[in-house]
């Protein structure tokens, strides 16, 4: 049915230029703005085709850096072109790092929706060290806004009357000073929000003592990342939440103010990451996916190690159906004292089997404290892999490390029978970088030259689920 292939290169007719406009628009849609605009120079018939593609992506960085006025007139003329020709503009992405561009927003934001825009992404990025006030009430009325990224800005003190973020899906505020009232209004107006990032933001009302309080309430949320703020989760149902990352943030709930307990119902959680000085309690139970916990153990915690491990035990129980990776930064200068029997009883209360922890990493300054931490941990969970970490690596410390591995073995032989009776096997392993796999180290007394993080203890338990 097929013909023999015709001679290539025999046709030099300019077929592409005569393609119908809607095809050219589809092709140009997929190019960068520079490439699309650049087609204007191909020939006369191409001169204005780029002005009809359904998307516009402009940034005042790169070429327009220090050419604020030129950027203004390019954006202005281009948008005016769409308007004059009655061409439908569907998507517009604007990146602005210069205050000069603000009048543009005032002029064009109210016109975007009538022009057909349904996907407006706005990036406001200040190059200065925080504090540039971007007081642009018109942004809050941008109904086609789907993404708002603000970096290094002060959003000002004027609380907008209306916020119309009905289409907003991604809200990313980084190093932003924002009135509590403004944030609350934004949060309550975004019914379609799926991704919320909140990094190192401060509230004006309580700037001296506190960070901004974030109230998370949108049930449409799929991803939440919060670094360094106060958070309160409102409502209990987050059926769509797949990823929750909280680092060095203060959690509070509407039930118990100031407590570190927060209850949210997120049955579809796939990624849970928590980094912080205190142990939170979660009431959600990821049924699959991964949980990554990074916890600090300080002097206070070490003094009351018993309750610290109890809280950790509760947290691990809550996450037991996910693959848990636990990292503890041991910063305490004291030895730990714990009642092993009580800890163990709690860990397996209600017929639960001890929680399996896929990877346990201990960042520690003195190996001498390691057995104490480990003992507490073995009371409440079953780590499959234990990796000792040191913040700095010295060659002589390889000896210390082998000493440490020997100690673990000894500890198991002579320690609390109840803790260790379920342990079936223990191997010291080293990561072989060439073969990309973990291999057992036969002679623990003489470890091969390697980085610390390339050693681990692999434990086999008889009672894990």
């Amino acid at each position: 049915m097929k013909r023999a292939k015709e001679e290539e290169g025999s046709i030099s007719m300019d077929r592409i230029s005569s393609l119908p406009k809607e095809i050219l628009q589809r092709i140009l849609y997929l190019l960068t703005q520079e490439e699309a605009t650049g087609t204007s120079i191909l020939s006369k018939s191409w001169r204005h085709v780029w002005r009809t593609r359904p998307n516009l992506v402009l940034s005042d960085a790169d070429y327009f850096k220090d050419k604020g006025q030129e950027f203004l007139s390019v954006v202005d003329e281009t948008l005016q072109g769409y308007l004059d020709q009655g061409v439908c503009l569907e998507e517009i992405h604007l990146c602005m790092s210069n205050h000069v561009s603000v009048p543009l927003l005032e002029k064009w934001i109210p016109r975007l929706e009538p022009m057909g825009v349904h996907d407006f992404r706005l990036y406001v990025i200040s190059r200065r060290e925080v504090g540039e006030i971007v007081d642009i009430p018109v942004v809050f009325e941008a109904e086609p806004l789907t993404l708002l990224f603000v970096f290094n800005c002060d959003l000002g003190r004027n609380v907008p009357e209306n916020i119309r973020f009905v289409r907003l899906q991604v809200l990313h505020l980084k190093n932003v000073v924002i009135e509590q009232e403004i944030f609350d209004k934004i949060a309550s107006s975004c019914g379609s929000l799926t991704d919320m990032w909140f990094e190192e933001c401060k509230g004006l009302t309580n700037i001296n003592k506190d960070e901004c309080m974030i109230e998370v309430g949108a049930p449409s949320l799929e991803m939440v990342k919060i670094y360094g703020s106060r958070i309160r989760f409102l409502g209990h149902e987050f059926c769509n939440l797949k990823s929750l990352c909280i680092a060095n943030a203060v959690l509070s709930s509407d039930l118990v103010e100031e407590s570190q307990v927060f209850f949210i119902d997120a049955p579809n959680m796939e990624v849970y990451e928590y980094t912080g000085p205190v142990i939170p309690y979660v009431s959600f139970a990821p049924t699959s996916g991964k949980s990554t916990l990074r916890l600090y153990m300080r002097d206070d915690d070490a003094e009351d190690a018993q309750s610290w491990f109890l809280r950790l035990s509760k947290l691990l129980q809550g996450l037991r159906k996910s693959e848990i990776c636990l990292k503890i930064f041991h910063l305490a200068r004291f030895d730990l004292r714990i009642e092993e029997g009580i800890l163990m009883r709690d860990a397996i209360s209600g017929g639960n089997k001890p929680v399996v922890v896929e990877n346990f990493i201990l960042e520690i300054n003195h190996f001498s404290a390691f057995p104490f931490v480990l003992n507490g941990l073995f009371c409440i969970c079953r780590p499959k892999n234990v990796t000792p970490h040191r913040s700095c690596y010295k060659e002589t410390e390889l000896e210390e490390l082998s000493e440490f591995f020997r100690k673990i073995k000894k500890m198991i032989d002579s320690g609390n029978r109840e803790i260790w009776r379920d342990l079936e096997g223990l191997t010291v392993e080293r990561f072989n970088r060439v073969q990309q796999e973990w291999q057992p180290v036969i002679n623990v007394a003489k470890l091969p030259e390697s980085m610390f993080k390339e050693f681990r203890v692999r434990l086999k338990w008889s009672d894990r689920d």
Binding site: E6, R15, L30, G38, F64
Partner: protein, 163 residues
């Protein structure tokens, strides 16, 4: 008219250079143009496709058969499309996108548009002109004026190099 028996119906398509092709109706109706003809009952005899030549039509039919054999799995369909278009030269792609437009097959049109866009990506003006046979009908003065008008686009871009 579509037969209501269990046997698959076959349509006969005729290219503008008078080549005849048989194709299963179930595959051919990926084209909204052909589907409308079938629904209107004018697909009984030979369906003349005045805007498509035989070589292109053969390609389009290969695509119709290939894609309709894949069950509803967007990933697999996409990888079939990628593979199908991977060995096509630019003349063929231009023919196909026109045919897809005429036959109203949006999935093929999108895929070919993306392929043509890929060809244009990161290329110099001179290269694009030669590749597509676009004749530069600007006078040097006019060309300079267009460049000046969109300075921000052409900054640092060589218009005539060969890469």
């Amino acid at each position: 008219m579509a037969a209501e028996t269990g046997t698959p119906t076959t349509l006969t398509l005729k290219s503008n250079d008078d080549e005849l092709f048989s194709v299963a109706e179930s595959a051919a109706i990926l084209s909204v143009t052909i589907r409308n003809m079938v629904e209107d009952g004018c697909a009984g005899g030979v369906i003349p496709l005045d805007n498509v030549d035989g070589k292109t039509l053969a390609s389009v039919i290969t695509y119709m058969n290939g894609i309709s054999a894949i069950p509803a799995d967007e990933e697999k369909k996409k990888s079939y499309r990628d593979k199908f278009l991977s060995d096509k030269d630019f003349e063929t792609l231009a023919d196909m996108v026109l045919a897809a437009n005429y036959l109203n097959m949006s999935c093929l049109m999108d895929a070919v548009s993306a392929k043509i866009a890929q060809v244009m990506e990161k290329k110099s003006v001179g290269w694009v002109r030669r590749k597509f046979g676009i004749e530069n009908d600007y006078t040097p003065e006019e060309e300079a004026a267009v460049k000046e008008e969109h300075k921000w686009t052409f900054e640092g871009v060589e218009t005539d190099d060969d890469n």
